[in-house]
Amino acid sequence: MIAEFGHFALTLALAVAVVQSTLPLIGAARGDAGLMALAPAGAMAQFGLVALAFGALMHAYIVSDFSLAAVAQNSHTAKPMLYKIAGTWGNHEGSMLLWALILALYGAAVAAFGGNLRDTLKARVIAVQGAIGFGILAFILFTSNPFARLESAPFDGQSLNPLLQDPGLAFHPPLLYLGYVGLSTTFSFAVAALIEGKVDAAWARWVRPWTLAAWGFLTAGITLGSWWAYYELGWGGWWFWDPVENASFMPWLAATALLHSAIVAEKRDALKAWTVFLAIVAFALSLLGTFLVRSGVLTSVHAFASDPTRGVYILLFLVVTVGAAFVLFAWRGPTLAGTGRFDPVSREGALLINNFGLTVAAASILLGTLYPLFLDVLGAGKVSVGAPYFQRVFIPMMVPMLLIMAVAPMLSWRSANAGRAVASLKWAGVIAFAVGFGVWLSIDRASALASFGMALAAWVFAATVYELATRSRTWRGLLRQPRVSWGMTLAHAGIAIAVAGMTASSAWKVEDIRVMKPGETTEISGYQITFTNVVDLRGPNYTAMRGTFEVRSGGAAVTTLQPEKRIYDVGRMPTTEAAIRPTVLGDLYAVIGDPDGQGGYVVRLYFNPLVAWMWTGALIMVLGAGLSLSDRRARATRPLDASAQAAA
């Protein structure tokens, strides 16, 4: 009964989306305030209805209503409650409903917080959101209905993929979607601005907080996903340049570029058409990510061709949405010429380089991700473009970006003296050299490249701190810094820390794979590790084999590591639970594998230096985004139509 209720709410939401996406547009074109007022009401109604539907689906998962096909395929009575709830979005149907829910949430947020937007702009933004919502809701209802009933309900479900039964992954999709779908708001703003033919400082100011929020969630979501891969897959790595990872990384790069270009559009009335273009591209990449992950093309183009309904629908949706936006951009974009002139060497110039670098990097990742698909379509055979491609393309592109990133905040707007800016950073340069040389001399496995990476991280960090110091001058000035600029400083410092973590963990990872018998001791990176015993134990819905390792350093006991190998009752699928001891200097990481039949076990031990820095850096970046967002100045609470009124 509740499921039918949810289904009904979803259908109603589709009807609301039709109204929300058409009438306000007509109202805005005619100047009819009554029709325009439908927009916020529609957005609120849509959020309410989709939330009801989502609640109904979640209820079905909680009470294990196996008469629903989606629940029967993805849940099980023996699952812990957290994973029953997380199971709501741990599958295709539910995750698309989550997508729709978050989209409606953002629409409602624009309606709620957009009190001082121009009426026409607000109506148009919400209408565009409604149109996207219509596309997604129609997709859910016609191709992936989560409320589809089974003829006869099975006694128990087929359970959730054990790999996904993990707290990290339970919260990964909602965070990632808050980021992906958050970019839809920016997209709607861009399309609305194109319809209006006007992009001014007020518009740019409105777009920034939405981009910032989306960017923060996206950063958090990607980090959580990476962290999950790190401890759950048991390979000791944290990023595999897997197409699914790339699908979330490309929108992040575009959103980062957008954050920076929106600043130029707001402060200097330049790069306006470019900013609008980026807003479209960022959401296009989000949709492309959804398409790649949800259509099944990644496993095989042919599998996609044999069961095409879902994939073809998302592809069509992508082509129509983005195509319409690009046509609109081609038609109206050239009218968005800015008035701001600037020298190549200036803050604007540096931000432009940032945009160029990020865009080209995103494009090269896109190429590497799609190229195998193209070849497959052409019948030219299967190839995999692996991590080496991405490393060789992405890292060289990021090096100059990081070099410039340190200097850019020191440059003045319009026209700057690059020599003076670099000269003022001489201490940062000295620190960077000291770090680079220190690493080179003190670590016997230090390659030139890794030392350079550490020096680069030090350079960015020192320059960021120095820039903050010159900006605030005194301790009191430090406290008086606006939260927006604290946000920038934190984000840049976070990047620096994360770069150090990435460099160190890639360059100096120690890996030891061996067969050990209980009682044996081995040594890795200065730790003596004794394999004590293996016990079998019983979890809520799995059995596990748990190995115990005593870790000592110089005779003193450090910790006990207990990696597990689990076999879930349903599906009999094994998973690996790595045991990790994180420290500031590096993670000790242990994985226990299969027994060799002679009393030994395959054991993998890793020492991953500075991995924690990566997560810390990412957290600091998210913190920076949050801090910026909490600043009243970034939220543009005042009516900012001064320029429009002046023009009228």
Binding site: L352, V360, G381, V393
Partner: protein, 145 residues
């Protein structure tokens, strides 16, 4: 600075960056852009069984055996060689000593081709000249055949 110079600088910078990025991408793509692989390249890497691929090299002199429409020959790059079987029509340029590209998959150590393409070299000359060169002993493996 004049707008003209600003545009020139932006264009120059953009072109430079784009060229650099293209170079990076092209070098990183490496063997994914090659149309075929030589026997030596294949000797150094493992090939999944039943994986479709293209091999390229010269048809070894004296290796061509025809039985009806079945053809057997050996593709070589002068350091490694691969035996090939094929059933079907051969292109006109196909002959011993000439370049060839075969598409197919490995079956028990021999390469079962489903398509054979001839690859011609970059030398063009009239037959009489070739004869004359051969007579005078100037004809070298590297420039022809």
């Amino acid at each position: 600075m004049k707008p003209k110079h600003q545009r020139l600088a932006l264009l120059g910078l953009g072109a430079l960056g784009l060229a650099g990025a293209a170079a990076l991408v092209l070098t990183a793509f490496e063997d994914n852009l090659v149309f075929f692989q030589t026997p030596t390249e294949l000797a150094t890497k493992s090939v999944a069984p039943n994986q479709r691929l293209r091999i390229g090299g010269l048809v070894q002199e004296g290796s061509l055996v025809k039985q009806g429409s079945d053809v057997r020959f050996v593709v070589t790059d002068l350091s490694h060689s691969i035996p090939v079987t094929y059933r079907g029509l051969l292109p006109d340029l196909f002959r011993e000593g000439q370049g060839v590209v075969a598409e197919g998959r490995f079956q028990d150590g021999t390469f079962a081709a489903s398509e054979v393409l001839a690859k011609h070299d970059e030398n063009y000359m009239p037959p009489e000249v070739v004869e004359a060169l051969k007579k005078s002993g100037e004809w070298q493996r590297t420039t022809g055949k």
